[in-house]
Symmetry: C2
Subunit: 301 residues, 2 copies
C-alpha cells in the first residue's frame, strides 16, 4: 500500500482491514453495536467483504439483495443472486431478497426502456429503484442504518465527476455518512470509503470470499469507469493522490467551504403521498411517478 508506505503479510492484512474499518466506523460516527444495520449487498467484493467484516465484528448486520433483473449474456443478476444466497447460508446470516420483476412486473432494464424510451442506459433508473427499495426495506423492517460497500475509488470518481461539472447539490451532499433528514429516510453510511478498491479486493481474495467478478454489463463505457481510469493514472504518478483528493474535500467542507450545510441544500423535503418517502417536489415522488406508468400499478409504499 504505497499511499501508507505499508506492506503486510496475509495474516496481518486480514487483521488490518477490519481494524481500520472499525476505526472509520467510530471516527465518522457511523453506528455502534446498538444499531440495526442493513447491508446492501450486490454480490461484488466490496459489499460481501463489508458484510463479512461487520458480522465478524459482532454488529447486527443483515443483508439486502435486490434482484434487478439484469441478465443478458452474462446472467449478471442471476449469478449475483446465487452468490449472495450461498454466502449468507454458509455463514447463517439473515437477509432479505427483493425481486424487482416480481414486485413491479418489470425488470430494471424494462422500466428503463419504457420510461427513457430506450434512449439512455438504465443506470439512473436503477439508482432510483435501489434507493427506494433500500429505504423502504430498512424502514419497514426496523433497521436504522443502511450500509453500502462503496470504496475510495467509487467515492473519488463520483466526486471527480461532480467537480468537473460543479454539480452544486451533489458536492454539498456527497459524504460517507448521510444523516437521516426525513423520517422516511434511513441514515446511510459507507464504512469502506477510505479503502482503495485493490485493498477490499485483496481482502476478499485472501479470505476466500466467492464474489461476482463481472461488472454490471451496463457499466461498460460509463462515465464512472472513465473517471476511475483518469484517477488511476493520477494515483500511479502520485501515490495517495486519490485519498488526498477525497479527504481534502471532506476537510474543506467541514471547515465551511460551502455556503449551505448538506441538510439544507436549498430544498425543503416533502413526503410522497404514495410511498411516504421524502421528495423535493410537492406531489408524488420520482420513483412513484415512474412506477405509475408500469402496465399494472402495484406500487408498495
Amino acid at each position: 500500500m504505497r499511499q501508507h508506505k505499508l506492506s503486510l503479510c496475509k495474516e496481518h492484512y486480514l487483521e488490518w482491514l477490519p481494524e481500520q474499518t472499525e476505526r472509520f466506523i467510530q471516527k465518522y460516527n457511523m453506528f455502534t453495536h446498538k444499531d440495526k444495520v442493513l447491508v446492501a449487498v450486490s454480490g461484488g467484493k466490496d459489499s460481501l467483504t463489508l458484510w463479512e467484516i461487520l458480522w465478524k465484528s459482532g454488529y447486527v448486520a443483515d443483508g439486502l439483495y435486490i434482484n434487478l433483473g439484469i441478465d443478458g449474456q452474462t446472467k449478471y443478476s442471476e449469478m449475483s443472486r446465487q452468490i449472495v444466497l450461498d454466502f449468507a447460508r454458509e455463514r447463517a446470516l439473515r437477509f432479505t431478497v427483493v425481486d424487482v420483476e416480481e414486485e413491479f412486473r418489470e425488470t430494471v432494464p424494462q422500466i428503463a426502456a419504457r420510461t427513457l424510451r430506450g434512449k439512455a442506459k438504465p443506470c439512473s433508473v436503477c439508482g432510483l429503484v435501489k434507493r427506494h427499495i433500500m429505504n423502504r426495506v430498512a424502514r419497514d423492517a426496523g433497521y436504522n442504518i443502511l450500509a453500502t460497500g462503496h470504496n475510495l475509488d467509487d467515492e473519488a470518481a463520483a466526486l471527480f465527476g461532480n467537480t468537473l461539472s460543479w454539480a452544486k447539490g451533489y458536492l454539498i451532499r456527497q459524504n460517507p455518512v448521510l444523516e437521516s433528514i426525513h423520517p422516511g429516510v434511513i441514515k446511510k453510511v459507507k464504512p469502506f470509503f477510505r479503502f482503495y478498491e485493490r485493498e477490499t479486493a485483496a481482502y476478499a481474495v485472501l479470505s476466500r470470499i466467492t464474489y461476482v467478478y463481472d461488472e454490471c454489463p451496463y457499466s461498460i463505457g460509463s462515465k464512472t469507469i472513465y473517471y476511475k481510469g483518469l484517477l488511476n493514472q493520477l494515483e500511479a504518478d502520485r501515490p495517495g493522490a486519490k485519498l488526498h483528493f477525497f479527504l481534502a474535500f471532506l476537510k474543506a467542507k467541514k471547515e465551511g467551504l460551502f455556503a449551505q450545510p448538506p441538510e439544507k441544500c436549498g430544498l425543503e423535503l416533502k413526503t410522497c403521498p404514495v410511498c411516504g418517502q421524502p421528495t423535493t417536489v410537492p406531489d408524488t415522488c420520482a420513483f412513484c411517478r415512474m412506477m405509475d406508468k408500469v402496465k399494472s400499478p402495484t406500487v408498495k409504499g
Copy 2:
C-alpha cells in the same frame, strides 16, 4: 474549434478572436476605453497577442516586461526581452522594462537559490516577485487595470490543481476578474481566459506575431504542465470539457456555492510598512521579507 462546432478561414479567424475578446471584456466588466491598462508581457504568444488585440481595438494598453534573469542554455529571459522590445518598437507601443537583477542585485533564480536554499524550483519566488513588480509599476505609473494573457488551459489547470487539493482560499479567489480589494493593489483581468491555448496560438501564427516558442526552462516537469496533460486527455475524449469545467465553476460560484465571497476570504488585509502593498500578516509583507535578506537591501516600495 470542436467545442464551438465552428470552422473559420484565416481572414475570419483574425476577426473572430478580437471580437470574442471584446465580448468577454464587456461581459465580465473588465475595463472600458476610459481605463489605463498595463499588459504584463512575457514574450509568449498569449501576452503578445493580447497586447496586439487591445492596441488594435483602441484601448490605452501599455506593456510591462519584467526581466527575471532566467537564462541558462536557452537564454530564455534574454531572448524574451529582445522579442518584446522588437514587438513594441515595430508597432510604436509604449512599454516599461523592469530588470530584477539591476534593481535587486540578484536574478529570480539567485533569490530562489538563496531563500529556498536550492531545495525547490524558483516558481513560487518568481510569482511573488512578478506580482509585486506588476502592482508597483501599475500603481506608480497611474494604471488602473493590470491585464495578463492567461488562457483557458492555464486557468483550467490552476483550477484543477486547486480542486485536487481543495485549496479553499485559491478556490474562492480564482477568477478572471479580481477587483482591487486594497488601495495598493490594482484590478487584475484575464481577457483570454475563455480561449483555448491553441486558439491564441493560431491567432499569433496567422497574424505573424514573432513570439518566444520555448517554455520557461523551470516549467519542465511542473504540476501545471502535468495537469494540462490530463485535461487535454479529457478534452480529446469530450470536446468542450475544459471550457465547461471552468465556466461551470464560475457559475456555481456566482450562484453562491462557497460560503465566503472572494473579497472577504477570511483575511483582513493590512498594509506593508515597507512597500505599501497589501499583506495578510501584521508586519512586513512576504516580498519585502524575502528581499530584506538580499545581500544589499535596496528594496523600492
